[in-house]
Subunit: 280 residues, 3 copies
């Protein structure tokens, strides 16, 4: 990992260059619906992928991979052990965990796992606006009158409304939070950057958010959490903008999107990324 | 849910219009092979998707979704609890369950679950001809000399041969049965409609039947079971006919098919659906 | 199963002809990441697919299918029973098992299953170079100074380095080993054939190796293990060469590849397969 350059665009292109040069492995425990897209997006972005269910396999992957991705969709009983075990191992190794708290509020196990992750926190959280608010609430990071109760898999809150939650989480984990939406928001403890671009069809393909988390883990293997979250979000927005141009619907969009993830080089990524700093 | 219009075509276009307007959520417990296509087809048809394995998560989804989809492929031990629990919850909530009894006859758990579903029956069964016969037999709805023994995942019986079975199931569940084949057959207690169209390549892509069940659940969230089964079957046949035109093989067919599911508006769907009423 | 013709090319085209004529079923226990591609590749190559997790379902599939495929990726606790049970059933039925030992060395269960498979061995092993070496070591088939320790999911060893391991495994199982790489290597107890072609993009799509194992099982249902492994490897290389021509990246490559698997007839397959015999 080299010294990070000064500008955001330079940090993104350098991260992309290191991913292309080193093909870093990011192991995953991720959901059954979108696991294939997660792996293919990680490969297309320049990384390596390996998915597991069992705790001892997850522990082995935390040791050989540069980062690890946990997505809470489609939980099975074995995840009660394997996800917290992986998170603790990563904490002890000081290796980055990327968390997608999808489905937060749905069922008992998800809440129990998120309680355990409070003590072995991720370096990056990738989520939508309502999930950011729900996670900040569950970890006791927010006060005030925000609505209680379970939050689902849809983005019910505007990304901007989740800014306070994202910053609270970023400070608590001393890492970064990427909130996906029409405009993405990437927050560290002291900076907030908006990332523009993409396509409305991204909401019509399952797993765009899940696979963004997986790609963020690939980037996290080569750079700091904030740069990794930003590079992944920018890579997705640029690829989404490109894929939108020629597609005829959600399936051809997904195909063009993965092709674009693969085609976009580090310099193009930096040149086409539309970033706006909102605070620091 | 508005009053259903008189003609079948009008009922289909109205259902499609309501799906587009409300983006209804249909939760699923479905198989690992085709779960990604189920979710993408539900999104392309205008609905929302959420998949789970665990019983308490399924119960939570039955409460927030307008309908629920259960597909018996790739069973895991946890499905012994979660599928019957979801079915009983839906019965008590009077919300529609769509069932795909894929693999009926294979293994012990599948039969045990289907026995439990007899007392918490689906509103719609989506299956092929041999599965319809096997299910009608297992639930004791048929008599006579039809062949005994387990039936597999292939359509060994012509759709027309399954007409009696489909009607017997439809009467028993007081709902609808959609039997997929070269010509689909949709039966209620007192009507049978054939749906024509589609493509021979639909048998060369895994999950066309599974995902039809998922789309039927999306429609079941906004209309009665018979209209929902008919609208989903028609949507699939029309999309299959369109996708057949330009494709070069099964993978490009699947891509064009999902794009077509998304592109076909309510009026086009009604205009292109080829229906033939066989009895009432 | 007819008498095998004399030349390798003739054996391949005859196997492809029998697959197209009989649409053989090969059941699978395979990983969640790539299960959809495995099924679609099996269908595109002319076979039938059915995937299970549970032991009694696997046993039922071994009885109705002409061959069976086991892939060790994404293991779950239930696989501790179902995989060895399926392997023993196939041994007792004298039906071919195709094994992909992906992830060998990762976690305890995978090693335990592979120990059990030593006594109920596959007819075909499909793997990469490092996996071939690791498997030959685990089964005690190699001696010398090859590197110890767990081997991952990437091909760390050149295919040629794995030749000794592949032949040792082929002799031990009295079957065939297909080692995937830039040039594939297919070994029986007394022959080694290299298969050329394909595309560099095959390493950028998850599941090319997994699905090759599934297609090898389809071929194994109609011919001897060596011919089956060779036909599947040749089918993949020819389809990969064709798909490479027009694609714009890994996703369009995968689509063109599956279309090509479906489009390539037995005569084209034999005409376009590039084989080189290395020893007998």
């Amino acid at each position: 990992m080299s010294e990070a350059p000064a500008t955001l665009h330079a940090r993104i292109s350098q991260a992309a260059r290191e991913v292309r040069a080193t093909c870093p492995l990011a192991g995953s425990i991720t959901n059954a619906v979108t696991v294939n897209l997660v792996a293919n997006a990680q490969l297309a972005a320049g990384g390596s992928a390996a998915m597991v269910y069992l705790a001892d396999e997850a522990l082995a992957l935390t040791q050989v991979g540069g980062a690890f991705y946990v997505n809470l969709g489609t939980l099975l009983p074995c995840h009660a052990q394997s996800i917290p075990a992986a998170a603790r191992a990563l904490r002890d190794l000081a290796r980055p965990l990327v968390l997608d708290p999808v489905g937060i509020g749905l069922g008992e196990l998800r809440g129990q796992i998120l309680d355990e992750l409070r003590d072995a926190p991720p370096a990056i959280v990738r989520c939508n606006a309502s999930e950011a608010i729900a996670l900040a609430r569950q970890w006791g990071l927010l006060e005030g009158d925000e609505a209680q109760g379970p939050r689902g898999v849809d983005a019910q809150d505007a990304v901007d409304d989740a800014r306070a939650a994202a910053q609270a989480i970023a400070r608590f984990i001393d890492g970064a939070v990427a909130v996906s939406g029409e405009t993405d928001l990437v927050a560290s403890a002291d900076r907030v950057v908006e990332v523009e671009g993409g396509s409305p069809l991204m909401t019509k393909v399952t797993g765009m958010g899940c696979s963004l988390g997986g790609v963020a883990a690939v980037y996290a293997a080569v750079t700091d959490p904030f740069t990794a979250a930003l590079a992944a979000a920018a890579h997705y927005k640029v690829a989404g903008t490109r894929a939108q141009r020629d597609c005829a619907g959600p399936a051809s969009f997904q195909l063009a999107f993965v092709d674009a993830l693969h085609a976009i080089g580090p310099d193009e990524l930096a040149a086409e990324a539309v970033l706006r700093e909102r605070g620091r």
